[in-house]
């Protein structure tokens, strides 16, 4: 059992949990993730480690409830425990002092972006963050990200910041010679990352953090395979961050949808 130290609501269905996981807190580096199971029936859910404190032995995860596995995690109150937390998994973020770094986050992807923005700032980069959401309540971590530099917000309904998508703001920065980024981190829904990569010239390094369907998270199952630069990679052990320009997003989107399709999965056949 791993104790939930605190559990707060950040946005509708999005919670921030602080967990006591001393071994992970001690070794974790930005960009790495954990696999969490709330109870003995739960699926294994990969979640980025947003933050960690080795001294108190805690890590922070930000979770959006989108299915039974994630719902059970966000419904675990402070003082209660999660059955399994395994990690830290994946490679740490590749960091350089690029100069101007623009971090682009969509929806709950902003939670994955947060440790990357923090690490980029710590490495001496000038960080600008663009975060987007459906409407104001879905824009998370605005104040936290402001600690690393300017934060630009977009919402689809215009209830906060600029109306529209993150790509419009990113395009403005790309077009402005004074603000043109030297590197970009983009994390969010697959269509958002694909859209970002599409407008960024190839000479600007663009890292994306991928979260494909995963089971074990240690390289054993190969379910998280993605094609990067024509080569098959396992997101869990080769990633989760990849050169966005090389990722086959169309294939990734297709594989992500495997279990949304009842016709092929267990439910379809049981009715036969």
């Amino acid at each position: 059992m791993f104790e939930v130290v605190s559990n707060e609501v950040l946005a509708p269905k999005v919670h921030r949990l602080v967990l006591k996981v001393p071994r992970v807190a001690k070794t974790r580096q930005p960009g790495q993730f954990v696999i969490v199971r709330a109870n003995d029936q739960s699926e294994r859910i990969p979640l980025t480690i947003a933050d960690a404190d080795a001294k108190s032995g805690t890590i922070t995860i930000i979770v959006q409830a989108i299915g039974p596995g994630t719902e059970e995690i966000v419904n675990t109150a402070a003082g209660q425990g999660l059955r399994d937390v395994a990690g830290p998994l994946g490679h740490p973020t590749h960091l350089e002092k690029w100069g101007k770094v623009v971090c682009v986050g969509g929806g709950v992807g902003t939670a994955v972006l947060y440790p990357l923005a923090a690490a980029a700032a710590k490495a001496g980069n000038e960080v600008t963050t663009i975060i987007g959401g459906r409407s104001e309540p879905f824009v998370i971590l605005r104040n936290e990200l402001a600690a690393f530099g300017e934060v630009l917000v977009t919402t689809e309904d215009g209830s906060l910041g600029t109306k529209g998508f993150v790509t419009a703001i990113l395009q403005e920065l790309l077009d402005d010679p004074a603000r043109r980024p030297d590197a970009i981190f983009a994390v969010g829904p697959v269509p958002m990352m694909a859209a970002v990569v599409k407008i960024v010239p190839e000479e600007i390094p663009t890292l994306v953090s991928l979260n494909p369907i995963m089971v074990d998270g240690t390289g054993m199952c190969g379910g998280c395979r993605v094609t990067v630069g024509g080569e098959v990679k396992f997101a869990c052990v080769d990633g989760p961050e990849f050169d966005g320009h090389a990722v086959d997003f169309k294939e990734l989107m297709n594989r992500q949808a495997t279990y949304t399709d009842n016709q092929h999965c267990r439910i379809g056949l049981d009715k036969k």
Binding site: R23, G87, V215, T218, G222, R225, T258
Partner: protein
Amino acid sequence: MSNDLSPKERLAIERTKMPEQPANERVTNFKEVNLGLAEEAAIREARRCLMCKKRPCVDGCPVAVRIPEFLARVAEGDFAGGAAILLVDNALPCTTGRVCPQEVQCEKTCVRGAKGDPVAVGWLERFVADWAAEHMEPPKPPAERTGKNVCVVGSGPGGLTAAGELARMGHDVTIFEALHASGGVLRYGIPEFRLPKKIVDREVANLEALGVKIEYNVIVGKTITVSQIMEEFDACFIANGAGLPMFLNIPGENFKGVYSANEYLTRVNLMGAWKGENSRTPIARGAAAVVFGGGNTAMDAVRTARRLGSDPAVLAYRRSRAEMPARVEEIHHAEEEGVRFDFLVAPLEILGGLDGWVRGVRLQRMELGEPDASGRRRPVPIEGSEFELPADIVVVAIGINANPVLTKACPELKVNKWGNILVDENGQTSIPGVFAGGDIVRGGATVILAMGDGKTAAKSIDAYLKNK
């Protein structure tokens, strides 16, 4: 009961048959196929043993179970006596009695096999082990402690065996397991119908009764490194398995519905997708399944697909039946269950539909040419023989590569060019006090060979700790 029979009387007894769940029933469930021997059948079978002095069966056993000795007790009806011998030699007898390839080990070397059927050692091992689990008290930790602590990496067959042996020697043993459950391949790989998970639970509970501690969710190489382990422990045994699944590297392999055997079996076994609606973990099911490979894993995958409703469930293998590495019993059971075998075919492409799901495979017929490095005749493509098979599910079961997570985080650990850890004849690695065995050393092998390595390493670790 007396076991005082003449060789002639022993030779007159015919090999018993294993009661099985009927094939037409078992394809609709995940219950065990083999039902186990009744007491009388076990006694009769044990009496077939000629009690020969040479004991070739013991040499054929990777963990050197004293087979004639335990069979003699069974032949007398003294099951507790038989168990007392078996349990000392074999840490996981309920498991090996079910999954060992006896036909190439103890039963292959049995002298009765020269003229007829060998003694059914595997079935008798299972019988005695199951009897012991039901009737005997779990073991106790030895009173005399050595004060040494040993870390075992991985709770698969190699790790569990080493842990059991070391615990019985009086060492404190902690297992670090990467997953949320124990057993390694016994849990995630081998299906319920071949090895019920309650048996794995029981074998692990016996080790815990011996004082073995298991810490889950610890991925050595990530959560903790080998050098950190050696700061906390007096010695370490690495048995973290092989890990990375191999793919075919042909077009179409990333369509929905294409799985590695590891993923397919892990979803079904470890995550419980075989329970259907009662499981949280989904698994794609399809009318037609094609599995690539010819080993036990391929057999497990295709028989699982059959049970999840696929008809046809096809096993496509690029060599012929004679070269299949799978156990004879599994092949036989799969055939009874209606699995279709397509021999001498090689995959060229996996075909997908507009919906992104696999819809078939394109194959090419092969013929056998000259023997290759493995001594098996190499399959050679026959030109113009391409054909297609429909498939809604494809499972790739062609082998595994060494998982580099642990070794990459420990550069001083010497590995070969495939990433397998190098060990000496005692199982010791290039780091003093760090031993290794099982698939991470051998590449893809068997449960019993991993157990043999665990046993060897435990002896070496004990000797190492005594000299330390």
